[in-house]
Every structure is written in C-alpha cells, then in structure tokens.
Symmetry: C2
Subunit: 416 residues, 2 copies
C-alpha cells in the first residue's frame, strides 16, 4: 500500500477531506472500527515484528533507546487493548456543552466538534503511532504522523494495518497518514502547514518539544516537560513529607510528573534533610544539594546553577533550603516548567498561598506530583499533559482534541 508521496499540501488536503467525513460518523460506527483495528493489529503481529526487526538491526543505539523501539507480541497486544479502551471512552463530540435563547429569540447551541486535522511529531516509540491514531479517530479527527526515522519500518507496518481497516470499513484512508520522508526540511514544512493543520502536538523529549515550539507557526500544544518541585513547609508533617518525596521521586523516575527538586523551609531543615537524604539513598537516589544542605549532609553532590533548570528523568534529586514560602514560590515560578508542584504543610494559609501563587497546571497540597495523569484524574487515556495555557492545560483527555461550534437557529431574525 502506498502510504503517501510526502507531498504535504496533498496530504493536508486529503486529511481535511477525510476529516469532513469522520465528523459525520456516529459513535457506534467509530467504536466498531476501533475494535476492528485492534483485532487487525494482533492478527498482523508477525508482519509488525518483522518490520520492527529491521528498525532494531538498522540502528546502533543505546540499550534504553532499543527498549523504547522494540515491539513484542505482548506490546502489540497492549497497543490493541489501548484501542479497545479508547472505544470504551465517551465520545467527546457527542456533547452539547450548553444552549440558550438570546434576546432576539435565536436558539444558540454550543456543540463539541472535532478540531479537524491533527499533526503529531514524535520520536522513537512506535506505540505513539497507534495511540495517537486511535485517540484522533475516536474524536473525529484526521491525523498526520511524523515519527522518528529510527522507527520508520515499524510505523509504516502499523499505519498500513490501520489504513487497511479503514479501507475495509469504507472510510477514507487519508484519515491516518504517515510522513515517510524523515528529512528536517519536510519536518520544517510540516510545522508551517497552517492551511491544513488545526493543531500540532509534539510528543517526546525537551529538545523535540522546544524545537517545535520555537519553529512552528501551526498552533502547538506543548506537552510533557516536567521540572516538578516539592516544597516542605515549616508546618509540614515530616513523615508525610518523606513519603511524598520518595514516592514522587522513585515510583517512576523517567516520567514527566516525577519530582526533580525539593525545597525545604529553613526551620525544619536540620531535622528533615538528613532523614530525607537517608530515605532517598535507600532507594538509590543521588542527592544534590546547595551549600546549606551540604552543611547538614556533607557528602551530598554539590548542586550547580544548571541543576535548578534540569529535568533529570532519573534517580537524581536536587535539594535547596529556603528562608520562606515566598522564596520557595519565587524559585518555583522562575525554574519550573508549569507542570506539577506540591507543598507539604498543615497550614491552611500556606496551602492557599502556594496553590494561588504557583504558576503550574497542577498545584498540590499534601500529595505526590505523580497523580498528574489522565487515568488518575478520571479522564481515561490521555493525549499528553499540556504545560501551556492556551486551549488545554494539565492532563488532556479526548476533549482536548475537540473545539466548539455554535449552531444557531432562528425564524427569520435580522439585526436591528
């Protein structure tokens, strides 16, 4: 199956036309196709694995990278299950947000409709191909995918299966398209395809996301950068503070909602910091500290200025002692990535100030940052976690892939 000719204008126009068709499908029709895609993926396991082998053999890459790239029958089954889970979610476009009658007697309905055409730019995880295709399809959007060249054979195999399911169902295959030319020139053109793309969503590391934000003229939803902080206030329950810090750091250190930094009020530092360092080290965490931390625990690694802006995604935590809650808030607002921040305190006033003044999608009192997640929030599968303020913020469920449309019905009204 010829996927495309990498003519982005032609792909964009085809996607737009496909999107107009998808918007007319009923929820039942979409769910049947999603479940069929799941079955067809499982049935194509040998073909997909063979394509994935080509990617693995063609890349001389780090073990960590190979793990992201590798597909197994279990992982293909997981991707298929993900599609079935998306089928089970509520259809975000089956919704009338509100309605009213205006002064002129017009009935105004504010309905949820698909965005239209979604662009996805991502790296070497082939599962993003299936996840994004499923979420876009369920929400009635066409998608154009631009994955990393390392996973190209895998992505082609996966997209070929999904498009075959669309074709069998009598739906436009242009609903799911893959850019197969991995050049930077084409990526740059993709980021400027304002005539056809309604939104561009980068999924991957900070480098990719920053590159897209800095270059794209298509509206971007920034996701996933997480330099998350925990602030242990003077009025904290210290055992709770240790539990929350250890959980937020070690439960899954590679993800964006893991904590990277710890700020401690000076009044509790002498009691808290040594106990905390012991607890973190028991979980294999390298602790870095400023001078005041080093005065309490002499063998911590010295934190440099760069540490405060670094997302480690690893078993490393930098600790700083602050003089006040205001200093903690100012430090967080200067260095965070607007993702998730926590205060541990028993003071109502301190908790209120922190939640009001810290600039982030999710601001916690007395809980681990690890809860910032579409499933934990009850949204179901997520497109990502938005760290920007426009359109969507925090965990994004299917609704983030929709917009509104006003449908207005009158009986001949004209404006006076």
């Amino acid at each position: 199956m010829v996927i495309n000719k990498n003519d982005l204008n032609a792909m964009g126009q085809a996607a737009k036309n496909a999107a107009y068709s998808l918007a007319l499908l009923s929820t039942d029709q979409k769910n049947i196709v999603l479940r069929q895609m799941a079955d067809d993926l499982v049935a194509a396991t040998p073909t997909i694995i063979a394509a994935n082998q080509e990617d693995l053999l063609g890349n001389l890459v780090a073990a960590k990278f190979v793990d992201r790239l590798r597909l197994t029958p279990e992982r293909i089954a997981d991707m298929a299950q993900g599609l079935r889970d998306v089928a089970a979610l509520a259809d975000p476009t089956a919704k009338i947000d509100r309605g009213w009658v205006n002064d002129a007697g017009l009935q105004i309905l504010q309905k949820r409709v698909p965005l239209g055409v979604v662009g996805m730019i991502f790296e070497a995880r082939p599962n993003v191909t299936v996840d994004a295709s499923g979420l876009c399809f369920k929400s009635g959007n066409a998608v154009i995918l631009r994955g990393g060249k390392e996973a190209m054979h895998s992505n082609i195999a996966l997209v070929t299966v999904l498009r075959a399911t669309l074709k069998t169902a009598g739906l436009p295959v242009a609903a799911i398209q893959l850019i197969t030319d991995p050049s930077h020139e084409l990526a740059a053109q993709f980021m400027h395809l304002t005539a056809y793309l309604d939104v561009l969503i980068p999924r991957g590391g900070a480098g990719l996301i920053n590159a897209v934000v800095q270059q794209a003229t298509v509206p971007v939803i920034e996701t996933g950068a997480g330099n998350c902080h925990i602030y242990v206030d003077a009025h904290a329950e210290l055992p709770m503070a240790i539990d929350i810090t250890v959980n937020a750091k070690v439960q899954r250190p590679s993800v964006c909602n893991a904590a990277e930094k710890l700020l401690v009020h000076k009044d509790v530092a002498a009691e808290f910091v040594p106990a905390l360092v012991t607890a973190l080290r028991a979980h294999g965490v390298e602790v870095r500290g400023d001078d005041r931390v080093a005065a309490l625990v002499p063998d911590v690694v010295a934190a440099t200025a760069a540490d405060w802006d670094t997302e480690y995604n690893d078993l490393i935590m930098a600790v700083k002692i602050v003089d006040s809650e205001d200093d903690a808030i100012a430090h967080i607002n200067a260095h965070n990535t607007k993702h998730s921040e926590t205060i541990v305190t028993n003071s109502i006033a301190a908790g209120q100030r922190f939640q009001q003044r810290v600039d982030a999608a999710c601001v916690y009192v007395n809980a681990s940052t690890r809860f910032t997640d579409g499933m934990e929030f009850g949204f179901g599968a997520e497109i990502g976690i938005s760290t920007q303020k426009l359109h969507a913020r925090g965990p994004m469920g299917l609704t983030a892939l929709t917009t509104i449309k006003y449908e207005i019905t009158g009986n001949g009204q004209v404006r006076q």
Copy 2:
C-alpha cells in the same frame, strides 16, 4: 513618564512579574481601578486630543483612515464608558469550573485563572489600546500593546493615563506596556517572544492577521476575517431570504460578520435572484454574479475567481447559483474564513446537514450572520471573534483571556 525602552525581554519579564500581582487582586479591587481609569481618561481629554492632533497632522492619509484615527471628547467618553462596562462584567477568574474527588481521595478543583501576559498587535484605532487594556486588566492579565505607528502619539497619551491610574492605586505599571518603536524588526521579535507571552492577539485587517499567523511562534488567536455566506435553499421562504440577505449585507457592511457571498439553489434562482438584485441595489449594493446569475440579470458585474475568496467589507455582494445543497456546502468549506454562515430553508433535513457539515464558528438556520457578536450572544464586551479552532472559537468574552489550573488537595496520598 518613560513608558519603556523597547527592550522586549525586559518588558516581558516585567509583564510576567506584574501578572503574578494582578492574579492576586480581588474583583472589587480591579473594578475600582477600572472605574478610576475611566474618570482619569475623561479628565485627560485635552492632553489626549492634543496628542491625537499630532498623529492626524503627521499623516497624509485617506479620509476613511483619518476617521479611524481621530479622537474627539465624545470618543474619549465612549472609551471611558467601555471601561465602566467592563467593570460591570462578571470576573471570569472568580470561577471554579468543576470539582471532584478522585479514586485516591484527592479533591481536584478546576479553577479559572488569568492566562498571564497577553500581546496585542493592532493598527490605527487608538480605542483598541483602551479596550484591550481594560479587558486584560479585568481578567487579571498583563498586556503588551503594539499599535500602528500612525496612532503612536495617541497611544502613548492613553497608556500614560492608564499607567498613572495603576501607579496611584499602588499596582505595577508594567501591567500595561506599549511598544513605542514601530519597526518591523521589533514586531518580528515580539511575535517570537515565547518566553514571556502566553498569547498574541492581532486586531485589524486580513493582511495584519495573516502576517501574524504566518510569522508568530507565540500562540496566536486569529480573529476577524469574515468571508461569510448565505445559502438560499430550494425550500427557502423567499421573502425571508431577501430580508436576511439585505440585513446581513447592508446593515453594517464594514464589519466581519457582514455577508459577502450569496449562493442560490437552481430551483428557486429564476424567481429569487432578480427580486434579490433589485432589493440589494435599492440599498446601493453592487451585485456581482456568475454566468448563471448573468443569464437572469444581464447587467450584473461578472464575478471573477478572486471574488469568491474576497472579503469586501463594502456594499458589494457576489452571487452564485448552485445545483445542490452539497455543492453549496463544498463551495463554502473551500472558500470561507470559518466565521459565520447561514442557510435559509424550511427543510429540517437541509438545516441539519448545513449546520453539521459547514466548517465555521457559527452556523445559522434562518437568521442573519450579523448576530455573531459578543453582545448579541450575551457575553458582554468581546476581545474579538476567533476564526480558529484552538482555545476559543466565535465571539470571545473575558473567559477567552483565562486558562484553567487544577488545585489538588490531599492528606498524604502517594501513587501506588
């Protein structure tokens, strides 16, 4: 008062700091300042008029342009009244959208908060300076304004008044800043100020808006382009169709929600088109038509291909005869600016198809496109009418200048 040194990074940082202060103000505090700004503007009328005279004398411009630029005591009083009207609106940040308790027992509140720093790029209307400042202040946002060089003296005078009010109230003057260097280099830098601007809103003609969309990497809300259509279906009540078409075309032809194009089903064309042309001409409208229209009314101006994509903003209307509703919908989706479209019909099926398939912010059945307006929708003063799909669509009230924040409160929860 030195307004700034046109150092955009310094202005951005100052705006960000100011925004953190504004977000802490109560609704009462903001409303008092807005009313004081109104009084101070009126009191400064002679100074503002004098500055405006410099702009008028410095520009050799068309009469239409002079009218947009000219300030009179009445227009200054109108701007002041606009600020009082904004004070009377509900505070969009005084809102908790929803709340729930998740499976782990965390209380999650989804609150409305200001976006932070808003950038406005506009042309020669000095009233935008006051409107935008008032709307941004009410919603808790700092604003950086970049107006046209033709209105520079007027804008400096207006911003000086508003900042003096802020200063007297003990608030950061960086909440309202004006770029006084009108160079294109600085405008380009402004459009790439992603570190500080949360959103960029262009206000003006299609040329300005397209330039911003094509160049900016800051998230943009596109506003105001309106190539709006009326489709007269085979099942239309023809007198209603004439009333709606005349109203949508002539009631205020210079604005974005005025109709520019008329599509007529072939089955009613022979009866409808001659009557319609007579009615439009009675209001001074130049009618342009395709060949089939010319066959019915030989003296219409021949429409060219460019007509179908042109927003006239004037007493001109292009008319086309179509074979079917599908052809009308396809024509609209190919040529419209996603603003406002109307079908005149008595067929439920035709109305449903049109509202579902036409891709626009506002899709009407049996009403004039002129109702697409914040006041008509009941939203109060509007920032503009969004023709894009991300974040806001259609008439934008104060809520479009806010985002959400999740405030999550627990009692020590950690992720399992």
